[in-house]
Symmetry: C2
Subunit: 190 residues, 2 copies
């Protein structure tokens, strides 16, 4: 059992609706030292892949993606969710379905900050249905950049998003992949 | 002129409506090395203040606040903007006016992750009217924690938010405080 899995077991809660609550160290109060451990693990997994940029989606994945970018020595680009943000000029968009809010959300990245020469590692805190990741992969494909892979802290394996992306040939690396979750019983995939 | 001021002059754009666009290094594509320089500067300014936590507001301030928390060796807590997030239990809220969206927004922090013993440094990328900071200061006051100060990358001094907070006795430290901005002419406060 790795450190993240141990923290999930010891501090996480399973709430109705398959929600894994880890907001004491992951996505509300953020344990930066744990983020550094996750980032080192991610760097080791993707060693030698000449990553030029880390990408994520606002907001809760940003701390982990920031430390991963710091560890890899590359810039971070985070996709925004459509609203009246101060983004001008050429935008690359991808529409996804948000299961959290049960509505369509458009992910937006300014074309200026991505290039076909980029080798991009996508980093996020959670993956469930994989819709956000599908949107980011779509944006990277529209730019013509190379997707090196996707690194996730906590995958809800039982929701299938990660396996769909793996089936399409993407290197999806999850540090804690949960196969089954109910109060008092969280089972990780080997 | 410091490094951040130089980057604002060389790469920033002034858009209509007093918008300072720095999304090539600050709040869309994020230059993590620059964030580290800002974090070191912030650590030096607040040296010896026994900070126990960094706080910010989602979303664009999170990368800078994450590196500041890393530099200070403390956890990060980011306030959420009210929506159907997976936050249960005791919430501490503060209502602010968002000038970006011209509507009321409620900032939320789970009471579980703040304590009256905390000595909190608030970090954000931008300050204009200071509404978000006023909300965070309000939350810290409701918890009974100590506010060590506020560290801002780019203050739009001409919008007055920072000076209002300073007048109330708060140590507001801005790395680039802009007194005047029009295309081709950005003037920093000494």
């Amino acid at each position: 059992m790795n450190e993240l899995q141990r923290r999930i077991i010891e501090e996480g809660k399973v709430l109705p609706g398959n929600i894994i609550k880890v907001d004491g160290f992951m996505n509300h109060r953020v344990d930066i030292k744990l983020m550094r451990e996750l980032a080192k693990d991610i760097r080791a997994h993707f060693a030698g892949r000449e990553i030029t940029k880390v990408m994520t989606v606002e907001a809760s994945g940003i701390p982990m993606a920031t430390i991963a970018a710091d560890e890899l020595g590359v810039p971070l680009v985070f996709a925004k969710k459509a609203k009246s943000d101060n983004i001008e000029g050429g935008l690359i968009c991808s529409e996804i379905h948000s299961y959290t809010y049960n509505k369509k959300v458009t992910l937006i990245v300014s074309a200026e900050w991505l290039s076909p020469e980029d080798k991009i590692l996508v980093v996020d805190d959670f993956m469930a249905n994989g819709e956000a990741m599908r949107g980011i992969v779509d944006i990277i494909s529209k730019v013509g950049a190379k997707l090196v892979g996707i690194a996730i802290a906590i995958e809800k394996g039982y929701q299938g998003g990660g396996d769909k992306l793996r089936a399409s040939g993407i290197d999806v690396y999850s540090i804690a992949n949960i196969d089954h979750a109910e109060p008092g019983n969280i089972v990780f995939r080997d």
